[in-house]
């Protein structure tokens, strides 16, 4: 029935074609997940302990992977996992606790494990492993990050992992005051870094493209990687797809091409203009799947720079900028104009706030009159159609954005036009890279610049974007320290006053509150803090959110049916994970 | 007055590190050009005539020897002054077309040296154009006609006149005319020769006339001197008509024999002889002409002849072991118009 499909590769119904949005194919690169070009594909032949469902309120909502189950103690500092009883590598060898422990040692060499304060890893039995946080810490995303680790065969990486790796890790983790031990820790940390370099450069022998996942790499060329179903996969009977073809791509347009040609059974999130979206949806079988993305695009203000230190100015700008219009032009496909200015995405705001609290939020709908009134009350004057600042100087703006971020660039142009029309001559400017922008921002070089905001799904992460380093709050050891904007290299550019009012007028310290969030293990504990932070953000607008992103993904139903379109937590994951759950069935 | 003593010039072989054989173009030449005098160099291609001319005008350096311009050796002078004096010796090239910048009008061509001349002599602007007109008229050109023209719009003779006029802008004492007429159309050739002769006669400009056309040499300097050059050496010299009528060196005789005979108007000289072969550039310690000389004997091939004075004529010198005067040039016939 599918003879007419334009698929170029195999006519087999069970061939599932897709691309990996994170990953270009690099022939010659090793089969090594720790290599940034390594030819392994997460969710296909690279498997994690479990798969996150991207819940904004529950960081611990996971779909089992190699870990069949897990338990943790009350404050979340100890986690015990049980491996799938029949998990096997593609050579038939079982996946054991040893493999897990080695994988975590490798995670230490890559700096991943330190990020969630991992302390000890204990093997309980061949299929049970216990993890402990560093003594004294309780990082509330411990389980979340632990479960997202990739597991690799210990035997495979034995050549690059020294026997004493765990003692090096232990030494490196010393955090006391003994200067000799501190020095040793530093040396050990360096040793780990050196190891990390070795590990990521390591090329496991070609013969053993070992996978514990649903698929195994079969063949690779600069254009495509071909993965075969792994018969030894623990849930192999759920997997109905025989072969996955991973198309290479070097630019978005190539993915658009594939999609337009109906060649992709699953097309992951790709930035695209509306016209392309329409074009893609015209193709037979193509279907759009929208899942929320926990991130927003915003404008950050440097409050060290006059006049952006004035709340009224920021609010006035919020009234002038027509976010719907900006989103239509900038991110017509996967953008949703930001409604509530809370520091989190609007969906999260709905989850965290009660309906009455939501109603209280200012929505800053486009309103020139309000903006004018606000500015006038702040001492601004309009002369010859252009605004003069209270200090008597004309008000002009440059809004910085990043090269390659086309949605931002387009949005920047629209905002500039709007502001110029409003009487603030504004021009867009483009910075060479995002890293450069972040650096310049923290150096206080931009009054107004584009900013990735509301990065979640966890509230602490989202607020940390505003009230963390950007506002001068940093964790030194276990102490929260505040650096003033004048401290060079410390990155404080938002530079809010020490205390800011919520909508109800209550003065709060957002930096401290944000830090407190990281210590909370239960949602109920977090809720009041999150609500206060949202309210304060809405009142003060340190960052003006323009739109929330959505993940727009595509499936093609002409060759396969039963996609997990209604299971948002699952569809957020790579298609291999869907298949583990029994989804994706070839049509007859 | 220019006096040249024992001038030697060797060109380094070309080609950077892997040089070709050096070429000894001038091998110790003595001559002098008296004020308002005429000196002609004759000789076949490659004998070094041009090289000497270029050295004299300062366009080429020399290896050894001495050149005295009015008794002053220019190498002793500071650069600026040396240039100043060298400008008094001007070169007239063979190809008048190449000697004029094709992208400049005659006006521009004339103004270039005059601008600098005016600066030097602190003359006003008007002087420049006036001077240009003056010299152009001197060479027989109408400035109004030629000023706006480009070189390609002029005939060969006119071009050569412009070249001479340009040389005159710097008030030269000596003109070095290197084959100055050989590219000029026959009908115009005589006009240029005439002009050169007049410059000499009227303005006292001395002339070094380089050519392989002996008749032309005779025409500008009947009373002057001819130097016959063979492979970078002077083999014979003498007062023009003397040398033409009774050359003693076989090479001179061959050269003179080669002048075409106007049959019907002239009869060939009794001893006319033209060597057929190509000459070799082989270095020889003996008489260099011996390999081509029909009169050569063993001595010529082993012993280098020294310069000698031809008895009875202080000005007539030669380098031949067996100097013999021969009549080689054509004799005019008496033609009666019918």
């Amino acid at each position: 029935a599918c003879g007419s499909s334009p698929s170029t590769t195999s006519s087999s119904n069970a061939t599932f074609t897709t691309v990996d949005e994170y990953h270009a194919i690099s022939p010659g690169a090793p089969y090594n997940p720790y290599n940034s070009n390594g030819n392994t594909w997460l969710g296909y032949d690279q498997w994690q302990l479990a798969w996150f469902t991207n819940s904004v309120t529950n960081p611990n909502n996971f779909i089992p992977g190699l870990a069949a189950s897990w338990t943790s103690n009350a404050n979340g500092t100890e986690v015990t996992i049980k491996l799938q009883p029949n998990a096997k590598w593609s050579n038939g060898q079982p996946v054991t606790a040893q493999d897990v422990k080695a994988s975590f040692a490798l995670a230490f060499t890559q700096g991943n494990a330190q990020a969630f304060d991992l302390g000890q890893v204990n093997i309980i039995n061949s299929h049970t492993v216990q993890f402990k946080q560093l003594p004294g810490d309780h990082y509330n995303l411990f389980l979340n990050q632990l479960l997202q680790q990739t597991i690799v065969p210990a035997s495979e990486f034995a050549p690059v992992l020294p026997k004493n790796v765990w003692s090096i890790i232990d030494t490196a983790q010393y955090a006391g005051n003994n200067s000799a031990k501190l020095a040793q820790a530093k040396a050990a940390a360096n040793q780990l870094t050196a190891l990390g370099k070795k590990v990521s450069a390591y090329a496991p022998p070609k013969s053993a493209d070992l996978s514990a996942g649903a698929f195994v790499l079969k063949n690779l060329n600069p254009g495509e990687a071909i993965l075969m179903k792994n018969p030894d996969f623990y849930d192999a009977r759920n997997v109905k797809v025989n072969e996955v073809v991973m198309r290479n791509y070097t630019g978005n347009q190539q993915i658009w091409n594939y999609l337009e040609a109906g060649q992709l059974d699953f097309g992951p999130y790709t930035a695209m203009p509306v016209n392309i979206l329409h074009q893609i949806l015209k193709t037979k079988g193509n279907q759009k799947v929208v899942t929320p993305a926990v991130v927003a695009a915003g404008l950050a203000f440097d409050e060290n720079i006059y006049p952006y230190n004035m709340v009224k100015v920021r609010q006035a700008l919020a009234y002038v900028i027509n976010r719907k219009q900006v989103q239509t032009v900038g991110e017509g496909v996967s953008g949703i104009p930001a409604k509530y200015q809370t520091g989190m995405i609007d969906l999260a705001a709905k989850d965290w706030l009660s309906p009455s609290q939501l109603a209280q939020l200012k929505q800053y709908r486009p309103n020139i009159a309000k903006a004018t009134a606000l500015l006038k009350s702040a001492g601004f004057k309009k002369v010859n159609g252009n605004w003069m600042m209270p200090n008597g100087k004309p008000w002009t703006m440059t809004i910085y954005t990043v090269n390659g971020f086309s949605d931002w660039i387009a949005a920047d142009k629209v905002i500039s036009t709007e502001l110029t029309n409003f009487g603030i001559p504004t021009s867009p400017d483009i910075v060479s890279s995002y890293a450069q922008e972040l650096k310049d921002q923290s150096d206080g070089k931009y009054a107004v610049s584009f900013y990735l905001d509301a990065l979640g799904p966890m509230a602490q992460n989202a607020f940390n974007m505003i009230y963390g380093t950007a506002d001068g709050y940093q964790l030194v050891g276990t102490n929260l320290v505040h650096y003033p904007a004048s401290a060079a290299g410390k990155g404080n550019f938002i530079d809010l006053p020490a205390e800011i009012p919520t909508l109800s007028g209550k003065m709060i310290n957002p930096g401290e509150l944000t830090h407190e969030l990281t210590q909370m293990t239960a949602v109920s504990q977090e809720r009041p803090i999150v609500q206060e932070l949202m309210s304060a953000t809405n009142a003060n607008l340190p960052v003006l959110n323009l739109w929330n992103y959505a993940n727009v993904e595509f499936i093609n139903t002409s060759r396969f049916s039963n996609f997990p379109v209604n299971n948002l937590g699952l569809i957020y994951n790579p298609a291999g994970v869907w298949m583990q759950e029994g989804y994706v069935v070839p049509r007859k | 007055m220019i006096e040249v003593k024992n001038l030697v010039k060797t060109f380094p072989g070309r080609g950077g590190m892997l040089k070709q054989k050096p070429v000894q173009a001038v091998k110790g030449v003595d001559f002098s050009i008296p004020d308002a005098g005429a000196v002609a160099f004759i000789g076949e291609s490659g004998c070094g005539k041009t090289t000497i001319g270029r050295i004299l005008t300062g366009l080429e350096t020399y290896d050894s020897g001495e050149i005295l311009y009015n008794g002053v050796n220019l190498t002793d002078l500071p650069a600026a002054e040396r240039l100043e004096r060298l400008r008094k010796v001007q070169l007239i090239q063979q190809d008048p077309y190449a000697a004029l910048n094709p992208s400049h009008t005659i006006y521009q061509t004339m103004m270039a040296p005059l601008t600098f001349e005016a600066k030097r002599q602190k003359k006003p602007k008007a002087w420049m154009e006036q001077r240009a007109r003056e010299v152009l008229e001197l060479v027989g050109l109408n400035p109004n006609v030629v000023f706006g023209k480009y070189p390609h719009m002029l005939s060969g003779g006119q071009r050569q006149r412009v070249v001479v006029a340009r040389a005159l802008t710097v008030d030269p004492d000596v003109l070095v005319a290197d084959e100055a007429v050989s590219m000029i159309d026959v009908s115009l050739r005589l006009g240029i020769l005439n002009l050169l002769f007049n410059l000499r006669e009227k303005y006292g400009i001395a002339l070094l006339f380089i050519t392989h056309d002996v008749a032309a040499a005779r025409y500008v300097g009947q009373d002057g001197h001819i130097y016959v050059i063979y492979q970078g050496e002077v083999v014979e010299q003498g007062v023009t008509d003397e040398l033409i009528q009774s050359p003693v060196h076989p090479y001179t005789q061959a050269l003179l024999s080669a002048v075409p005979v106007l049959r019907g108007l002239e009869s060939p000289g009794a001893d006319r002889y033209i060597p057929l072969g190509e000459f070799t550039q082989e270095e020889s310690t003996a008489c260099r002409f011996a390999p081509r000389c029909r009169h050569a004997v063993d001595r010529c091939r082993t012993e280098k002849p020294a310069e000698q004075i031809w008895p009875g004529d202080q000005d007539h010198r030669h380098t031949c072991h067996f100097p013999t005067p021969r009549r080689v040039v054509a004799e005019p016939l008496e033609v009666k118009p019918s």
Partner: protein
């Protein structure tokens, strides 16, 4: 003997040039704003990773970042060079630059070599025709089409062809150098697929450089046609075939050096064509290296191209002295 000395001399001066270029590029690429860590960080962020995660990820890369002073790094680099070692790539962790460059080279060679050769053959033949028939309609058409094609930038041509033949009329495949289902090697289906996939990019390359060859060849033929020996050959009644041989050989001489040089520059790849048609050749490699601020890879690729150019120069010189007796010595 002389030739041998000349060759040695050329090689030595070529080697000096290589060192100079190596030095220049070494310092130049390190003057570029940003660094590999930043570049990688940017990439991760734009892939949607959180800044914290991204920072963790790239921290490993600091291990690859040289900590010595620029000067020490330079000496180290030179030392490696002398041992024919171009160092290790940063973005392709742990892979040697030499390996990367050598594995990218074949793609470029397949693509650009056929492009250069095709455009040369086409351009030269059309050039002869347009010179010989320069006052006829055919000649004018060829000349005008040549000038216009010559005027169209390569990337425009590539985009145009790609749009026309893969999107509008999907006749040719797009997006991979060969059919993924095949195994690379010396087997017929593979080579066939390789050739089929190469048609568009080669055509784009050939079309955009064809005009240049045509115009050069035309003017060369026209100037040879004006030479006396051509008229002499005619007046001696030489057969037209022989006369054509005379003209062709003389006319093609000046193009010879350019051709040899373009073979050398071939190793620079064709950034646009490789980019648009997705070949992992040297052009794309260099572009990626630049985007990732992969210093060793950049220097290495630059050096590789430079060496190719210098060698092709030397070869061109020597071949030229073989075909043109006037250049020959002794």
């Amino acid at each position: 003997m002389r030739e041998a000395i000349r060759l040695v001399k050329r090689l030595v001066s070529g080697a000096v040039m290589v060192i100079i270029v190596a030095t220049f590029t070494f310092f130049l690429v390190r003057m570029m704003p940003g660094n590999p860590v930043q570049a990688e960080y940017s990439t991760l962020i734009s892939r949607g990773m959180t800044p914290t995660q991204a920072a963790d990820e790239v921290r490993v890369m600091y291990g690859f970042m040289p900590h010595q002073s620029l000067w020490q790094q330079y000496l180290h680099y030179l030392n490696q060079l002398i041992h024919f070692n171009l160092g290790q790539s940063i973005s392709y962790e742990g892979v040697s630059v030499m390996h990367i460059v050598l594995s990218a080279a074949p793609w470029t060679i397949v693509l650009v070599l056929s492009g250069v050769v095709a455009s040369f053959l086409l351009g030269v033949s059309a050039g002869v025709v347009s010179a010989v028939k320069r006052s006829s309609g055919v000649g004018n058409f060829l000349t005008v089409s040549g000038s216009l094609l010559h005027g169209i930038p390569q990337f425009v041509m590539a985009l145009l062809l790609a749009f026309l033949f893969t999107t509008l009329w999907p006749i040719f495949p797009f997006g991979a150098p060969y059919d993924g289902a095949l195994t690379a090697g010396f087997n017929l289906p593979f080579i066939g697929s390789l050739a089929f996939h190469a048609i568009l990019p080669v055509a784009a390359y050939a079309l955009s450089s064809y005009g240049g060859w045509l115009l050069t060849m035309k003017s060369s033929v026209v100037s040879v046609l004006g030479d006396d020996f051509v008229l002499a050959a005619e007046l001696r009644g030489l057969k037209s075939g022989i006369r054509f041989g005379y003209i062709a050989r003389n006319a093609i001489l000046p193009l010879f050096t350019i051709f040899a040089l373009s073979l050398g520059f071939m190793f620079g790849g064709s950034v646009f064509i490789e980019n648009i048609f997705d070949y992992n050749g040297l052009g794309n490699l260099l572009l990626n290296a630049i985007n990732n601020r992969d210093y060793p890879l950049m220097s290495g690729a630059f050096l590789f191209i430079t060496i190719a150019v210098i060698l092709s120069n030397i070869v061109a010189d020597f071949l030229y002295s073989v075909v043109d007796p006037r250049i020959r010595r002794s």
